[in-house]
C-alpha cells in the first residue's frame, strides 16, 4: 500500500465497518457486464464499487487488491485493464475455459475504534499490526473482526458447480446463480462457517433503485435447514446480502466482536 492510498483505505475501513453487522446504506457490489455467455474466448467487463444506489458508483471503489477471479478449474484469471478509481474499480476477464467463473472480493479484516484525548479514532487493520499496538491502554477500545465476502458468478457454456468455501457466510447454490428466470423460484442454502445457518436474514434489492421512489427490498429468513427460496417477480439485476453476528471472541485477552457478511449480485432473465 502506498502512502497516497492510505486516506482512501481508511475511509473504506469506516464504510466497511458500518456495512458489517449493522445495516447501512452503503452497498458493496461486483457487477459483470453479463453473467451468461456462449462461444469461445469471450470477454466480460466488471465493475466493483461501494455505493448507495444499485448499481451506480457514487461513493468508493471496491479495492482491487481484495478481488480475485477464478476459472471453472480453479485457475486465477488475470484482471485485464484493471483500474481502481475513486468511486469504482473496473477490469475485464477473458474466459478461456467453459464453465462457471467466480469473482470474489474477500476481506478478513480487523477493526479497532477507540478514543484519544476524547477524539474518536478508527483503524482498519489485521491481527499482526494490531498485535504490535498496546491495546490495553486505549480508551473505550472496541475490536471487531469480520469476514466480508462480495461475489458475482458468471458462466460461459455449461454451468459447473460453485464449491463451498467453508468459512464466513456464503450460499450453497441449489439453484445455479446463472439459471435465474422471472416467474421461477431459486433455492439457496445459507451457510455460516460451513454449516447451514437457520434464521439468517437475507435482503434482496433490485437494481436501478435510483429510478423508483422506494427501495422495495425483500427480506427473507432462512428455515431450519438454512434454505431460502426467492421467487423472482421481475427480470433484472439483483443485490443479495446477509450479515451475521458471530460468537464474540478475544484478542490478546480483550473482548472482540466477530461478524461475517455475504453479498451476491445476480441477473434474472425474462421467461
Amino acid at each position: 500500500m502506498t502512502k497516497k492510498q492510505f486516506p482512501l483505505t481508511l475511509a473504506i475501513a469506516a464504510t466497511t465497518l458500518l456495512a458489517v453487522g449493522t445495516s447501512s446504506a452503503h452497498r458493496l457490489w461486483i457487477l459483470p457486464s453479463t453473467t451468461i455467455l456462449s462461444g469461445e474466448n469471450q470477454w466480460v467487463s466488471v465493475e466493483a464499487a461501494i455505493s448507495n444506489d444499485l448499481f451506480f458508483p457514487n461513493h468508493h471503489a471496491l479495492p482491487l487488491e481484495r478481488i480475485t477471479a477464478l476459472s471453472p478449474t480453479g485457475k486465477t484469471v488475470e484482471l485485464k485493464s484493471a483500474a481502481e478509481g475513486e468511486i469504482r474499480s473496473s477490469f475485464e476477464l477473458l474466459l478461456e475455459e467453459q464453465g462457471t467463473y467466480r469473482i470474489t472480493s474477500q476481506m478478513n479484516g480487523m477493526f479497532a475504534s477507540w478514543k484519544e484525548n476524547g477524539e474518536p479514532k478508527r483503524l482498519r487493520s489485521n491481527e499482526e499490526e494490531l498485535g504490535k499496538m498496546d491495546l490495553s491502554k486505549m480508551e473505550e477500545l472496541k475490536l471487531f473482526k469480520s469476514n466480508t465476502r462480495v461475489e458475482s458468478i458468471i458462466t460461459c457454456g455449461e454451468t459447473t458447480e460453485v464449491a463451498l468455501k467453508g468459512d464466513g457466510l456464503e450460499f450453497e447454490f441449489i439453484t445455479h446463480p446463472n439459471d435465474l428466470f422471472s416467474g421461477e423460484t431459486a433455492t439457496f442454502r445459507v451457510m455460516l462457517n460451513g454449516k447451514p445457518a437457520a434464521g439468517q436474514e437475507i435482503t434482496i434489492v433490485k437494481g436501478n433503485d435510483r429510478f423508483r421512489n422506494s427501495v422495495d427490498e425483500m427480506v427473507l429468513t432462512s428455515n431450519d435447514d438454512g434454505i431460502i427460496e426467492i421467487t423472482w417477480t421481475e427480470p433484472g439485476r439483483y443485490w443479495i446480502n446477509g450479515s451475521a453476528d458471530l460468537e464474540a471472541g478475544e484478542f490478546k485477552g480483550l473482548p472482540m466482536k466477530q461478524g461475517a457478511s455475504y453479498t451476491l449480485t445476480v441477473e434474472v432473465l425474462p421467461e
Binding site: I36, S38, T155, G157, E158, D179, P270
Partner: protein, 177 residues
C-alpha cells in the same frame, strides 16, 4: 418427472409390445414457421431455436438451431445464449454445429421443417402431450418464444396452429400419414 415418464410408459406398454415405440405409418411431422417482416431501423435475421419439450418443460429433443454459421472464429456462437430458454434447457451443453439440427439463419418468410415420423429425432417421444417450442432472438431486436401443444401417439393426428406476436409469425404443426 420420472414418475410421469413411468406412467406414460405404463400406458404405452400394451401397444409398445405390439408395435414398438415409433409410428409404423410412413409420413411426416411438418412445422411451418413464419419469420415476419419488421419495420425497424436496423434489421438482422433472427437466431431461431426449435425443440420439443415435455409438459414439465424439459427439453427432450433439439429440432433446429438457425444461427450465424458464417462468421470467423465461430463468433456467431457468441449470441447463442440470447436464445435464453433454449440455451438453459440444453443449448449450452451442445457442441456446435449439430448435424441435422443446426444451420444458417433464415430470411423473412415461411420456413418448413419436415421430419419423417420414423426419424431418430422423434424416437424419444412416447405417446402423450408435448410442446413444440420455437424461440427467436434478433440482434438489436426483440425475443419471443411460442409453445405449440401437441399430442403424440403411434398414429399421430396433429393439426395445431399458434400465432406469434412480434419476432415470430404463424407457426403450424401438422402430421400426415
Amino acid at each position: 418427472m420420472k414418475t410421469t415418464l413411468f406412467k406414460l410408459l405404463l400406458c404405452a406398454i400394451p401397444t409398445l409390445l405390439l408395435t414398438g415405440s415409433l409410428p409404423v405409418t410412413a409420413g411426416e411431422l411438418t412445422a411451418k414457421i413464419v419469420i415476419p417482416e419488421l419495420d425497424v431501423a436496423e434489421y438482422h435475421r433472427p437466431y431461431v431455436a426449435v425443440w420439443i419439450e415435455t409438459p414439465e418443460r424439459e427439453l427432450i429433443q433439439h429440432i433446429a438451431v438457425w444461427y450465424d454459421t458464417e462468421m470467423e472464429n465461430k463468433e456467431g456462437e457468441t449470441w447463442l445464449k440470447d436464445l435464453r430458454q433454449w440455451w438453459r434447457k440444453g443449448g449450452r451443453s451442445l457442441q456446435m454445429p449439430v448435424e441435422a439440427v443446426s444451420g444458417p439463419t433464415k430470411p423473412v418468410g415461411e420456413h418448413e421443417i419436415s421430419i419423417p415420423l420414423d426419424s431418430p429425432l422423434l424416437s424419444k417421444l412416447k405417446p402423450g402431450p408435448y410442446f413444440f417450442v420455437v424461440e427467436a432472438s434478433r440482434e438489436v431486436g426483440g425475443r419471443e418464444m411460442q409453445r405449440v401443444p401437441f399430442e403424440w401417439s403411434l398414429t399421430p393426428k396433429i393439426d395445431e396452429e399458434v400465432q406469434g406476436e412480434t419476432e415470430l409469425g404463424k407457426i403450424t404443426l401438422k402430421s400426415n400419414s
